[in-house]
């Protein structure tokens, strides 16, 4: 994830030869998941990481296993295909996810059908969410939903995670993958996507695993990933994995140096030692479109 965090003015004054991207971009932070198999790798420091911005090595100013509170947005595909037992399992998963969050964390829920609807706004972790009002019906505007969640304003001192669950393919979005991808380039959140699969490894929705490729690509771009969950299994397991992955990831912070001010910035993060499974966002956009003043 790239969070565009605000570094103190004093530090900026010392660094004024550094490029400053957008009005809000004084530094860049990158969420990095480092795992060996299914286990998070603990105890890494700045010297263990190499970070390249458009191929140029950067000096990592800070690294932490983030202690900042999390804002978790659950984005649930509540289209007609979810009606029945799956909807009940989803309700259960939302309640259990809320219970996994600390009191400093927050959870909100956006229902994705052909239209988008915030079922409840941010509420503290641990509080039982009002899931009784969830109903299924209509189509799925998933790209619109993910983009909408990414476009919501984020508070600088909170980490942003979006967990999207879908059992189908996008049927109603007006935003295509390209636009959703561009939005992801500007956004602060990590997006994990969860899709149910049958024993045969195919999605339980109307499409095969191949149909999930765009979602996988979108999630990867933010440093997130595509999780699969056995169709009949509790959905909570996948939500828990997504939360745990996010919670145990590192946050690298740096001021970009030696790179141009504009355009798309490819990011590459390596970890010494290993071999590790390293996942970070693919890059970030300083300005892809001409800025409107």
């Amino acid at each position: 994830m790239t969070t565009l965090w605000i570094i103190s003015l004093a530090w900026l004054a010392l660094q004024d030869q550094q490029p400053v991207f957008r009005a809000r971009v004084e530094g860049v932070s990158v969420n990095v998941s480092v795992r060996q198999g299914n286990v998070a790798v603990p105890g890494l420091s700045a010297t263990d990481f190499e970070l390249l911005d458009n191929g140029v090595p950067q000096t990592i100013a800070a690294v932490s296993v983030e202690r900042l509170p999390m804002d978790v947005t659950l984005l649930l595909d509540l289209s007609r295909s979810v009606a029945g037992p799956r909807l009940e399992r989803l309700k259960q998963a939302v309640v259990q996810t809320a219970a996994l969050l600390g009191p400093e964390d927050r959870l909100r829920l956006i229902a994705v059908q052909h239209e988008l609807r915030q079922v409840f706004g941010f509420q503290p972790g641990g509080v039982r969410p009002p899931v009784e009002r969830l109903t299924a019906g209509g189509g799925t505007a998933l790209f619109d939903g993910i983009a909408a969640a990414m476009m919501r304003a984020a508070e600088a001192d909170r980490r942003q995670l979006i967990v999207a669950y879908t059992d189908g393919v996008d049927t109603s979005s007006v935003l295509d993958l390209d636009v959703a991808r561009e939005v992801a380039g500007f956004a602060d959140a990590v997006v994990h996507v969860i899709v149910p699969v049958t024993n045969a490894g195919r999605r339980a929705g109307p499409s095969s695993v191949a149909g999930a490729a765009p979602l996988h690509e979108l999630a990867s771009r933010t440093g997130g990933q595509l999780f699969t969950v056995e169709s009949a299994a509790p959905i909570t397991n996948a939500f828990t994995r997504a939360l745990e992955e996010f919670r145990t990831s590192y946050v690298l912070r740096y001021l970009p140096a030696g790179v141009s001010r504009d355009g798309w910035h490819e990011l590459e993060v390596r970890v010494k030692g290993g071999p590790y499974d390293v996942r970070a966002r693919k890059g970030y956009a300083a300005s892809l479109l001409p800025k409107r003043e």
Partner: protein, 335 residues
């Protein structure tokens, strides 16, 4: 069970056919429908377990219905066809099983010796339902059937183009190669161009759809050219809204972002609060660094409690948006 019965049952299973009728009330429902209790019967149809079983039962009980003493066989057959169409709508969630009911209804219509406006109307309603089910193959086959019965039906060329466009729905993109999708879009564009050359009654919508296909083909200039042929004061608000939305999409592709923003705002002026234009506008603002603006637009969208109908939601289902009107006329004709 004797061996022969077992073999028949096995054959029935293999053929995917139920062995026994499962809708014993069918003749009663048909009688209610024929008596004008259309909405009531349509309401009951929502509880049908299986469109496929109903098709089997209709086939099995149709002779008894058609041969009722003193009944006009043509009127009886029209009831059967309309009934099948209503059942297909009620169980559209069952996909091709539902559209097979339409094909069954179509067979009834084709057996009417001197087809007239009622049959023509049935076919138009069927076009709408095939499109609503996104069944491009079914729609294409139906066009062939209609052509035999009504060779001069003006909407045939348009429906052929719609069938081609249905083969380009974005949901298929992950399942087809890029070059295959490109070919399909080219074919849809070719067919829509045929419409604009031949049928004045569907020309405006064909131009709109041609523009949409051109956008998918990354040909924004051609899209704008098609949209420029639309004369807004003469077309319905659905087309006006979508024309403005698509103009925004084409302008974005050309990098003419201020004009794209104006197009989305114009679409929202035509249909205030409509999600598709609002979402495109939010995404454009966000990518141009106007995060406060995009956040406000998205917040309004997701916090809204009263739903706003969006023409975009029904874009892919083409004539399905006319179904209420078509169905009312059909019901009136079989009363």
């Amino acid at each position: 069970m004797p061996r022969i019965a077992l073999a028949l049952a096995a054959a029935a299973v293999l053929l995917g056919r139920p062995v026994h009728a499962q809708n014993p009330w069918l003749l009663e429902w048909l009688a209610d429908y024929a008596a004008g209790r259309h909405a009531e019967v349509a309401g009951r149809m929502a509880s049908l377990a299986s469109a496929r079983v109903l098709e089997f039962d209709l086939e099995r009980q149709a002779p008894a219905w058609l041969q009722q003493k003193g009944a006009d066989p043509v009127a009886q057959r029209r009831v059967l066809a309309a009934f099948a169409l209503e059942a297909a709508i009620a169980r559209l969630d069952q996909g091709t099983d539902a559209t097979k009911l339409l094909e069954w209804g179509c067979r009834q219509v084709r057996r009417i010796p001197q087809p007239g406006p009622i049959e023509q109307h049935w076919h138009r309603a069927a076009f709408a339902v095939f499109a609503g089910a996104a069944d491009s193959d079914g729609l294409e086959a139906h066009i062939g059937h209609v052509k035999l019965q009504f060779p001069t039906e003006p909407r045939l060329t348009f429906q052929r183009a719609v069938a081609a466009e249905l083969r380009t729905v974005p949901a298929l993109a992950g399942l087809r190669t890029a070059s295959e999708m490109e070919k399909r879009r080219q074919e849809a564009a070719r067919r829509f161009r045929e419409v604009t050359d031949t049928d004045a009654s569907t020309r405006a919508e064909a131009d709109l759809r041609l523009a949409h296909v051109q956008i998918a083909l990354a040909a924004p200039d051609a899209a704008l050219e098609a949209l420029a042929r639309l004369d807004e004061p003469t077309i319905d608000p659905y087309l006006v809204y979508l024309a403005r939305l698509f103009r925004g999409l084409a302008l974005e592709q050309l990098g003419r972002l201020d004009e794209a923003r104006a197009a989305y705002e114009a679409a929202l002026a035509a249909a205030p609060g409509t999600p598709s234009a609002a979402m495109r506008l939010a995404a454009l603002e966000f990518r141009q660094g106007q995060r406060d603006v995009s956040d406000r637009i998205v917040a309004e969208l997701i916090d809204r409690r009263a739903p706003v109908a969006d023409p975009w939601w029904s874009y892919w289902s083409a004539d399905f948006r006319h179904l209420t009107r078509l169905l009312a006329a059909l019901r009136g004709s079989v009363r």
